[in-house]
Amino acid sequence: MLIIGEKLSIIAKRVREAMLNKDKGPIQEIATAQWKAGSGMIDANIGPAEDNGEDLMQWMVTTIQEVVPLPVCLDTTNFKAIEAGLKIHNNQWGKPLINSTSNDPERFPMLELAVKHNCQIIGLTVGKGGLPADAEERSAIAAEIMGRAMEYGLPLEDLYLDPLVLQIATSQDHALQVIRAVKMFQEMNEPAMKTVVGLSNVSNGCPKHVRPVLNKHFFVMLMNAGLTAAIADANEIAEAMKLKPQIDDVLAGKTITDAAKMAETTKTIDVITGKTLYAHSYLEM
C-alpha cells in the first residue's frame, strides 16, 4: 500500500500561509512528519493556483524534496503548474504522480504531460457532467480513461484509477459504491489496474471526533478490497493498521472482547455499508 501524505494542502490555513510567504519551515516539517509516519509519496495540493502556479509548484516540489527522499504527487488543475513541477522534480526517489486527469476533455492534456515526462497519473472517474451514480458508472468512465491512456501511449501501470470518494454525511450510498468500484477497477486489466482514493473526503462535514473513526474503518475496508494507494494522513493510517485485526474480526462476524470497540466498529461498518442511516451522532445510538 502506497500512502501519499495528504497534509500539504492549500485548504489548511497553516499551509496556505506558508505557501503565501514562501516559508519553508512548516512545509518541510509536515513533509518530514508524513515521511517518518510511513508515506511513500507527498501530495502537494496548491489549488487552482491561477496566478503564480508555476513558481509555487516548483517551490513546493523543491522545498519538499530538500528534506524528504520521496517523489511528489502534483495536485492542481493548473496544467502549466504541473509541467513546471515535473521539470524540476528529482526522479531519483521515484516517478512523480499527476493528480489528475478525468473524463473531462479539459483534463485530457494532463495525460500528454504524463507521457512526455514519463510519470504516473491519477485518473479520476468523473466526466464533465454529474457525479457517477454507482460502481458501474465509475467503471464505464474508467474504461474510457484507460482507452485514452493507451491512445496517448501511457503504460497502464502508470495509471491509478480513483473512484472519487464522496462525503458520507450527504452521499452515504456512495461509500459502498467506492469499495465496489475499487474491486471492479482491478478486474479491468491483467495485471490488475492500480487504484487510489482521497480517503479523508469520506468524513468531510462530520464532527471532529467522528472523522478519524470513519477514515480508519473505511481505509481498512478499501484495503481489503485491494486498494493500491491512498492520499491520506500517514499517522491515521498507522492507527488504522493497528485496528485492522479487530475490524477484520467484526467484518468476519466475530465478537471482540472490548465491548466499546465492538460497538464502534459495528456501527461504523453499518454506516459505511448503508445498513443504518448516517447521522452525526450515529456512534451514540
Binding site: 452515504q172 445498513k275 443504518t276 442511516l277 447521522a279
Partner: protein, 311 residues
Amino acid sequence: MALAAPTETYPGKVFEVTIGTAKTAVFGGENVLPFHKFDGSVPNKPVIAYEIQDVAPEDWPDAVREVYGDAASDPVKWALFCQNELKAQAIALRLTGTHPDRQDRSAEDAAKTVKDVLDKIDVPLIILGSNHVEKDAAVLVAAANAASGRNCIIGKAQEANYKTIAAAAMAQNHKLVAMSELDINLSKQLGILITQMGFDKEKLITDPMCSALGYGIEYTYSVMERIRLAALAQNDAVMQPPMLADIGMYVWKVKESQAAEADLPKWGALKERGIAWEVVTAGALLLAGAELLIMRHPDAVSAVQKFVDEL
C-alpha cells in the same frame, strides 16, 4: 392452482400516535409501506388537520379566504367553524401573528389565543409557531404550558431551538414536531438529539419539510420515502415516528394557486386550480408516507379524504 400473492414484510413499524383528549385522533402504527394493506397491518388512516391562524389570513388567496369568510377574523370562531361545519378531525393553529415581521404578538398573547381556542373545541389541536427560530422558542413554551393536559402537538422544533421547545412539550406531556430541512441525515440527527434529552421517541412527529407540486415536491417525496424505508426495512427507531406534511402553507403561495384567469386563461379556473394543486400535493405525499396532513381548502380536504378511503 390458486395464485398466492407474495407479501413484503418488514422488521420495523411506525409508532402509533394519539392526540387530543375528549375527542382523539390516531395515526401511524403500520408495519408496511403506505397503503400496502395487503402486506401487513395498517391500523389507522392518515389524519387531516385544518389550518387556522391566530391573526386574519391576509396573505391567503381569496379562493381559500372566501370559504371561511368572517369566521377567519377570530381564531376561536374559525376553530369552531372547522370543528362544527367542516367536521375537522383535528385543527392546526399556526401562530403566524407572533412573527417579528408580522404583528410580533407576544408569547403571552399567543398563549391566551391557545387557551381560548382550547376552551371551545374538543377535537385535537396542533400548535405551530411562526417559523422564526428565536421567537418560536418563547412562543411555543408559553403555548405548551397554556395547553397543559390537552395532549396537543407542539411544533416545530428545529436544530437551532429544539432544546427549549422539546423541554416544554415534555413537561406538559405533549407530542412534538421535529423539523429539518430536506436532509434525511439531519432529520435523523435531530431525532437523536431530542431523544437524548429524554424525550420519548414515540411522542415525536417528523417533518422532513414540505414543498408544493412543481416547487421541489420530489425532494420531499424522496426524503419521506427514505425515512419510511429506514423505519421499516432497517428497523431504525429514530426514523419510526409518523411524518407530517404541512401542505397548505406551501400550496397556497405558489403561482398556480394564485395567478388570475385573465392573465393566464390557459391555466383554467383559478378556484379549481388551487384546490387541485392542494389535492395533488397531498396525494403524492400520502403515497410517500405522510400520516398527518395540514391543509387549508375544505374541497381539497374532501377530495383527499375520498382518496384515502378508497385506497
